[in-house]
Subunit: 173 residues, 2 copies
Amino acid sequence: MDISALNALSYEDFVNILGNVVEKCPIITAAVWSRRPFASLAVLEAAINDFIEALPESGKEGILRCHPDLAGRDLQSGTLTRESREEQARAGLDTLNSAEVSRMARLNEEYKERFGFPFVICARMSDKETILRQLSERLGNECAVERARGVEEVKKICHLRLQGLVLTDAHKL
Amino acid sequence: MDISALNALSYEDFVNILGNVVEKCPIITAAVWSRRPFASLAVLEAAINDFIEALPESGKEGILRCHPDLAGRDLQSGTLTRESREEQARAGLDTLNSAEVSRMARLNEEYKERFGFPFVICARMSDKETILRQLSERLGNECAVERARGVEEVKKICHLRLQGLVLTDAHKL
């Protein structure tokens, strides 16, 4: 899809196609539609990031809380969004052995207990060993540091989802 | 559920139970969890309303754009959220005759074309005649007036959804 096609979409089509670039937060995609036309995909991405940054801290925590646990209940029960399922699978999180599943579950619980939001990392840029190590290390951070770090990971995830949905070899934006 | 039970919920349970009090915007429920404990259900509702009011105008339009058309495609195809389905049914929108369906579709399209967001009204406080009349009348308003009006309707919908989810005869908050 080229940028003029993207700019020509009704808000309904825009949200249907791009509504999950930030996990379970179609309001963000729906909000930035107000700022079309976009000169490029990078400009659209910047509009999304600006919207996120302008939210109060509770709103940023709200975004994180809309994310599933990695290798958690939603993966086991098949209730992940399509995007999350593919990303977790690519990082090898759907083929953990039982010891790894237990360790991940324990660390996820500890993280959520400490911070009040889940551990978020861009799984597509990682693998299971790195994710387990990061989860363990990031547990030692301050809450404000982790909130900001989680939001940066949300932006990386959004970047890759946007690229995957909009770019084709024929139509680079 | 009494208010102490509500305040004791993890963010995951809180969002699972209350995540759709603002249609398809679980980020809002997830954000206000940061402000617990709530002294009453009214205080929780005020926190949601404050969060909405603090959003930029694009964010308010984003909320409206997450709402389905009344008596529209999602109703016909069975893809409404449970809450919206019940509310539209209660207003009689699932038993329109074909002339009424056509009229509603035409007015909805005209409204979306003019404002860039859908017509939102608290269906549970209304009926099909009133909805059709309001839709027709509100088409004549300025965009800023309609955006503010739509947000007020979102708050009414949220109020009734909260009451329905949290209150029982045995446990008034």
